[in-house]
Symmetry: none
Amino acid sequence: MILHIDPSNGIPIYEQIVRQVKFAIANGALQVAEHVPSVRDMARISAVNPNTVVRAYRELQNDGILKSIRGTGLAVTAEAPTLCRRIRLEMIQQRLRSVIEEAAQNQVDWDEIRQLVEREIQHQSERSRESKS
Amino acid sequence: MILHIDPSNGIPIYEQIVRQVKFAIANGALQVAEHVPSVRDMARISAVNPNTVVRAYRELQNDGILKSIRGTGLAVTAEAPTLCRRIRLEMIQQRLRSVIEEAAQNQVDWDEIRQLVEREIQHQSERSRESKS
Amino acid sequence: MILHIDPSNGIPIYEQIVRQVKFAIANGALQVAEHVPSVRDMARISAVNPNTVVRAYRELQNDGILKSIRGTGLAVTAEAPTLCRRIRLEMIQQRLRSVIEEAAQNQVDWDEIRQLVEREIQHQSERSRESKS
Amino acid sequence: MILHIDPSNGIPIYEQIVRQVKFAIANGALQVAEHVPSVRDMARISAVNPNTVVRAYRELQNDGILKSIRGTGLAVTAEAPTLCRRIRLEMIQQRLRSVIEEAAQNQVDWDEIRQLVEREIQHQSERSRESKS
DNA sequence: GTGGTCTAGACCACG
DNA sequence: GTGGTCTAGACCACC
């Protein structure tokens, strides 16, 4: 469970934690009933304030992803993988929709959008290949 | 000059205004030397706080898109169309990049992204066809 | 909008705020679209830390009771009265169920429970009559 | 000596144990001088952390309900039945009071409360009838 | 002015 | 050890 937190990202830190935990579960990196790192550990690992972690974990509890086991920590719920896999696509889809909506309202051609998408995919592919090497 | 403002969009309202004015100029919906609606009018039309319009217009002046004509209001500069046409795709691309970046970080397959894009394009096409009829 | 906060109540302060706002809406003391006191005001009024109020208000937003209007404050949603009226009874019912469940599991007679309830109602009636006089 | 522990109940687990032991003594399910299950056994049976059982038993010793018999475990004291029978209704009443108090503070009608009570009694009756059959 | 986020540090109940 | 709550005070973006 390693997190990549970027404090100057626009996206709030607690939200970054929430998302990455969700993705980790969707990917199977975190298994059902497994414990998420303790608040204090996660705070230390990610170099953020414990309260920020608390908030992220609370959000995950509200979403039914984690549940608190008194005195022993927070565990991944049985429904979490299903939820997270669904959420993962919804989060991307939602942002994608908003971009494409803007494009549509401003008469950007569909093919232009497709080109932009391909260019970005290309761009990302190269970056990920670099980081592997 | 009709604006589509979505207050619960994540994107600040003033920025939504800025972007849509830029798009309007790029599309030719706003011509050089044409006056943009007065702060008061724009605020009323778009159901937005006048201060927010002020801020958007200030931003547009800083970008060299609008210039103030003493006593008569704000007009589109001569350079604006060139500028706006140049950044038209960049504005979309910038947002697209951040979405795809997140997807990439979370091991979403490229083809899955392409599918989502196509689905959204489909979705938008239908909406625009409906609104025309 | 006056709150009665008891910091040594067992019930967390933020939860007390949440409940009382919900009850105020259920009772009609807070109307739809009306603004709830600003975070800072509520903090001053209730003599609690602003962050505690923030948390309570955030919870109310998650429940769909309040919605944030950028830069202008938090307003009661249109669905709030319905939700709150439902919630009001549910909260009481839930606690009642838990008590009665315990009683049942320990072979307390139904009539004994009814007597206890009547005694408490009596007790409360007198207290409220006193406070009015 | 079977315990019904609900870890997500609000009431701390150790307190649930304490209450249920007291009820058991009041009902005669646990007799004077009878030994309560060992910490280890009770922890295993009820799927609870041994430390939690320790704490519950300590509380019961402080209340004079249990006393430690060197080398053999904890036994019900001679005074326990009297004590427990006396507080049997009080334990229920205490919780009942706090519920009704809240209801009162929020202008829930007395008759509405009586209805909820009857509904819950009905509910419990059915459940217990089912479990017998 | 508004809400939103974050840090720092304290205290508590629970296991 | 765990999570949960609270305070205090700071900074930010937005209206």
